[in-house]
Each structure stands twice: as C-alpha cells, then as structure tokens.
Symmetry: C2
Subunit: 479 residues, 2 copies
Amino acid sequence: MAKEKKLVEAITSMEDDFAQWYTDVVLKADLIDYTSVKGCMVIKPAGYAIWENIQSELDRRFKETGVENVYLPMFIPESLLQKEKDHVEGFAPEVAWVTQGGLEPLQERLCVRPTSETLFCDLYAREIHSHRDLPKVFNQWCSVVRWEKTTRPFLRSREFLWQEGHTAHATAQEAEERTIQMLNVYADFCEEVLAIPVIKGRKTDKEKFAGAEATYTIESLMHDGKALQSGTSHNFGDGFAKAFGIQYTDKDNTLKYVYQTSWGMTTRMIGALIMVHGDNSGLKLPPRIAPVQLMIVPIRQDAPGVLDKAAELEAALKAAGVRVKTDVSEKSPGWKFSEQEMRGIPLRAELGPKDLEKGQAVLVRRDTREKYIVPFEEIPAKAAKLLEEIQQNMYETALAHRNAHTYDVTSYEEFKTTINEKPGFIRAMWCGCQECEDKIKEDTAATARCIPFEQEQISGTCVCCGKPAKKMVYWGRAY
Amino acid sequence: MAKEKKLVEAITSMEDDFAQWYTDVVLKADLIDYTSVKGCMVIKPAGYAIWENIQSELDRRFKETGVENVYLPMFIPESLLQKEKDHVEGFAPEVAWVTQGGLEPLQERLCVRPTSETLFCDLYAREIHSHRDLPKVFNQWCSVVRWEKTTRPFLRSREFLWQEGHTAHATAQEAEERTIQMLNVYADFCEEVLAIPVIKGRKTDKEKFAGAEATYTIESLMHDGKALQSGTSHNFGDGFAKAFGIQYTDKDNTLKYVYQTSWGMTTRMIGALIMVHGDNSGLKLPPRIAPVQLMIVPIRQDAPGVLDKAAELEAALKAAGVRVKTDVSEKSPGWKFSEQEMRGIPLRAELGPKDLEKGQAVLVRRDTREKYIVPFEEIPAKAAKLLEEIQQNMYETALAHRNAHTYDVTSYEEFKTTINEKPGFIRAMWCGCQECEDKIKEDTAATARCIPFEQEQISGTCVCCGKPAKKMVYWGRAY
C-alpha cells in the first residue's frame, strides 16, 4: 500500500500548483523524458501513441478535402528566409543556425526550419506556371525548431512536431475559403476527437502570424483558466507571391499572382489534453484519441482461470473494435489501478476469481469512477457504449467548465479584477485600436485571444478606452 | 501527337545512359523537385505517397513484433556524439553543425542527427534500472542529415527520411535474435511488398556500421547491374552500453550491461523501386506499394455517358478495395496513357463511347502491356486478380534478372573481366582478410556486399590471394 500511495502522492495537486501538477503528470504518465539538449524532449511510447492517433485522424480529414502530403528540406538558406520582410522579422530572432557541414564552414548559413512558408514559396515559384497548375494543396508532417528561452514539455519546446499545410490558389476568395475550411477541420477535430470545445475567430493584427494578411485561430480554455491557442490558419493574400514571384498565366492569358494560405497544428495539443481533462489522479484521455481504451486488470492473476478469461475477454473486446490491453505485470492490482488512472486510460475491467465464479467483470470509468458489474457476454457491447458516453461526458464537462469560466465584462476596473480573481476567458468590447490592446496586455498580462466569428454585443463601448466599439473580443492570459 | 511524343522522348533510354534515365524518371514521374539547398530535395505528392505506403506497411510489421514508436530530438550535443569512439569517427566528418541558437552563439555545438544511437543510449541510461525495464524495443520515423559530397535523389541526399529502431536487451542472445528478426522483416517487406528480391547476409568488418559488433544487410540488384544496400540491422553487443553506462540489476541482484541493436530503412527504397522495376516508359510500381493501382482513362470524355460510367466504375473498384482514380483532365487520351505509364500505375482502364455500347472496358497492364476486354460487371474482380498477377510477375522478373546477372567466379582474372563486362553480382570465395578486400576494391571498385547466410562452395580458394577460403561472398559495385 505504501508503494501505491507513492504513485498517487507523486503528483502535486492541481489546486496547489497547477504548473507543477502539469509537469508531474507529463512525467508520471510516462509521456516524455527530458534530454541532454535543453528545451528538447523525448516523446515516449505513451506520448507518441497519442500523437500517432492525432496524426491519423487529422490526416484522414485533410485528405478528404484534397490535401496531398509532401516533404520539404529541414534547412532554409538565410537569403531565402529573408525574402518576405515581415516573415523574417518574426522568425529570425528565434531560429537555430547551421554554419558548418562536414568539415567545411558553409558559404551561406542555413536555418533549421521554424516553419516552411519560404520553402513552399520557392517550390511554388518553380512549379506553378498555368491556371492548370492550381490549386496546390500541400501539407507536411515534420518537426520544426524555434529557439525559445523558456520551455515546457509539449507547450513550448525548442523542437516540436507538427503539420504545416501550404496552399496556392488562383483567387483571393478561394484562398479565404480554404483558410476557413481548414480552421473548421481543426475545430471539428478538437471537439469531436479531443473533446475540447473551442472558440473560432480571427486574431487581431497585433497577434497575427508574421507575413499573414489574416490569421484565424481556435482557442481553448485550460483547467487553470488560461487560454491555449490550439490551431491557426493563415490567409497570406498575395504578399508572399509578390515577394517570391509566384505567378501563373490565367485563362485570359494574363499573368497573375497566386493567393496563399498556411495552417498548422502541433504536439502542444497533447498538452491541451492534459490541461483540459486531467485531474489529481493524472491524465484523462478521451476514448477516441486514447491509444489504449480499456485496461483489463486481473485480480489474483495466479488463481486458476483468471488469465485465461482475461485473454478471452481481450479477444472479444478487440473483435468489437475496442483498443484493449491486459496488465499482466507483477504489480499489485491497486498499483495497476493507479497506473491505469495516471495514464488516462478511459475504462478498466477488473476481473478476479470471484468475478469468474459469477461470470462477470467490473467495469470502472476513468471520468466519473462509476462502476458497472457486467456479465461476460455483455462486456464488449457495454464497453463500446461506455466509451461513447465517456467521450460525450468529457466534452460536456470541458464545455461546462469553459462556460463557467467565461465572464462578460463592461468596465476596465471589472476587467482587471476579473482577470486576477477569476481566471478564464473575458468577453469584452474593443474599439479596434492597438493602443488599447497594448494597454490591456501591459496592465493585465491578458491578450486578445480572438475576435470570435459568433459576435455578441456585450456593451456599446471599448472596455479599455470607452470609445464606441463594435467588436467583441475573447481576452485571456495564455500559454 | 507531338506533345505525347515529347513526354516519352523526355526520358533518356536506360541503355544509353542509366544515370540520366534515373534522373529523368525521378523528375518526369513527378516524384521530386530540386531545391535551393544543395543535396536536399522536395519529395512531391507522387513520391511521398509511396513513402507513406512504405511507412504504413513497415510500421504494421514492426508493431506485430512489439516495437513501440517514440520521438527523440534532432540535435546531438558534440560531447554526447563523442562518447563511443568508433561511432564518432564514422560520423563526425559528415554531420551538419548548429552553432547559433536565436541571437546567441551556443556554448556547445549541436550536430543534426546523422543517426540516433547516442541519443537512444542517453535515454536508456536514464530509463533502464532493472531487468523489469527490459527489453526496450523503440523505433522512430524521422529525417536525418549526412553532409554528402555527391548526391542523387533518394539514393544519396544530405537529408533523407528513414526509420531507426533501437533496442536494449538483457542478453547477447536476445539482441542477436532481434537483429536477425528485423533483418527478416525488411527482407519479407522488400520481397512481398516492393517485389524486390534480396540477398540476406552479414557485412564484412570493413563494411560494418561504425560502432557495431556485426552488421546484417539485405542487398538487391538494380537494373544496371549495380548493387543497392537496402536495409541494415546492427548488433552492438555491449559496446555502447559500456560507453554510456547502461546497466540493469538482474534477478540475481548483480549489475549487468545491456546488449543493443539498431536497424534502419530509408527513402532510398524509392530509388530501388525505380531502378529494379522501371523501363524506358518510366516508373513501374508493384501494386502493393502503388498509391494509385488503377487509372481510369476516359476516351472522348465529352461523349454522353462516358464520365458517368467512369464514376460508376471507380466506385465499384473502390468497393472492391482497389486504389483507383479517374483522369478527367483536359489532356488527350494518348497523353494520359503516357502519364499513367510514366508514373508507374500498374493498371489502366480505357473507356470510350464504343466500350459503353458494348458494356465493356479495356484493361491494360503496365508490366506486360497486355490488354483485356472485360465486361463492366467483371471489372472489379478482374482488376483485383490482375493486380495480384502483376505483383507476382514483377517479383519474378526482378528475380530472373538478378539470377541472370549473378556470376560465379573462381579466378581473379575472371573477376576483373566479369565486373567490367557483365555488371551484376559476383559470387566468389574469400579468405577473410581485409587486404584482399581492399585490393579488390582498389582494382575493380567492387565491394563485399555481404557474406550471405546461404553459403555455397564456389571453389576452395580465395578469389584474390588464392589461399584456402571457406566464405562465399557477394561482390558488386554499389550505389
């Protein structure tokens, strides 16, 4: 029992210190390990399996919209990075530079890609000649590097995994439609698969991507009331096309610039899963993304018939499409329960000699801890049904939490009190000028998370300067 | 017709200039594009889709043997790379060095991983404490960088994609078994999926991996008679474990070193597909790896009913599990045929107004060019059957080619004549000393490809020095 306590006690409670709780979960749920390279992590099997599921779900959704995958080099020559002014200003201060290849110093230094707009533009400039070559709807899965000063596993690391989509279109309208389409893919994925409700909207000019005409975002709320930017989709207009000379001959035989977009989602979503759903027993994974959905824990596994029945049950669950494993390690059942909870496996089946006699097993939900005594033959169907219920319940719980931590605010005093006393989203009107945005950030450390597509009139005036305002904005402190 | 000719003529014939033929196919089949970074390529959708199929097939086979995927950083601190003497000597001359992060020079330079033994050892040293922590059977899919002087798409590039498996075991025997097991996974994959016959064997000490005790390899023969190392599996013994201090407490409570392996396969297999199966019409993909297995080419697609029937056919083929597309572009049918052949799509269905009348379509095989007139309702079953036949025929053709270009040689004079006049594998006896190996390489540019598991006695004496010899070796000039 001492040992079992230790596993649970190893986690700081989230109410005491959310940041420490997060780090504890990341390590105790065996998602990552630190490395000798500062700011870079090892994503261990339990963490990487979540990423593989994210990849396969997203990739399928991408391909349904006509996306094709490619792979571009990880190096960008300095001269290429510098072609688009705003872009280089945004990224140059935080890239890693390769200055030597083999035994020779390089003539031109290469940065390790922080993002690949410039490489895709270079490709498109070579490949696009005619309207017949359009649209290009390419995506790549890769790792990128940004030399961050302060780092946290999944949320901000010097190297992280992501996908980056880059498209080129004949018209501004088509580019805008693709930008929104991909934002919707991200939003649906987050809500349907990760059970994370999101706010869809547009970034302010201050917060938009370096080089973009418009950046759209989905924003989610973590358990501690801080916001997390969860996916972005950028409309570049023809800015990059002009900088890189990406032109095509249209049907009317005139030369035109293309319109471009890019969009990305990263391993930080694993951080979001932890911070939206986790609790003081550890990780809590929505069934649709959980690498293991059900863990069978044999009780007294040395007793006759227990492991045989467990194997039979495992086979029946697999046949029913449930991702199932049996914990046959030499640990005690209590320790195994703690581990299964720590790792966020949505369902557990307890099976001992007494259950065997009665022809049943006990199913235990990770989300509500409810127990169900289920006859063997009903287990596959019941498990499948419970997994759907858990998925639904986790989404609803997260949505209720977000709604309970979203505050409509009309005065600046109220804004300041709320952000300090009630961590969460603040919905407040904004006049649209950057001075107010800067002042709010300076006074409160809150940023404009997004101008949501679904607008509501909270008041008639800007929460900061009091001038007439038409735009409602979600504000919050963010990761 | 001029245009159609152009597409075909754009390929140099393989008999005239094999290297140029290869480059032409790589570009005309739309697999890659060059980039502004020397030695790095863009893998375009048609090329990347092949890699995705390689990945999914291999990954499935790995997981069936208990492999778990992880992700380790792309950077290795110089001090870490230097921990194993042979390893650093092998790789240090050809790595890319990051010396600056953001605006600051780094205190210790980082190399971009050329391979990740050192990082996995660093991880295992932290993670392995007890016999209960063993075995570790990890793999990662990533890109690696080797600063090659001469580069060729897929075959030798400065950055390439691969998987690298790294395992740690309690005993030497278990490590050896895993090394061979993974070599067999590679061999089966090559033969069953890529339709490429391979020779399995062991590398000579001269040719083994930097830091390995033994390197096993699968070697395949390209159409021009040159060999290609197609996958390697290394047994490290406890050499790395000693350099990195990877020890575990065994059941008998004593501290022991682990035994390790690593194994990898890369995007160069796309090069192998081209050079084993391709012809003067372009690429020829085995059905099991082909992203598109059947292309429907409508003839007179503006004629009533043609596109409707094509769509119907496409749906029926999809339902039968065939990866199918319809080419509805505005090009001429002849041009579409050339493109389908250039891209190596194994089957084509031609469908015009006359076929419509007769209730049939014409299936054309890419491998033999045979035509089959098939009633609509029989097409899905016939296509599935033909795809299997094509797969089988391509393997047999490649095997026959290899057998016809494998020469048993007993004298050094014969060796030198054969290697110059009959490009292919030479099977000859070897005394086992490196001097002969060096001399053969110097005189003929041929290297010991492998000491095959299946040994045959070709003669009693070393082909080079004439001393008694027990080992038969496959020799060849290699990519």
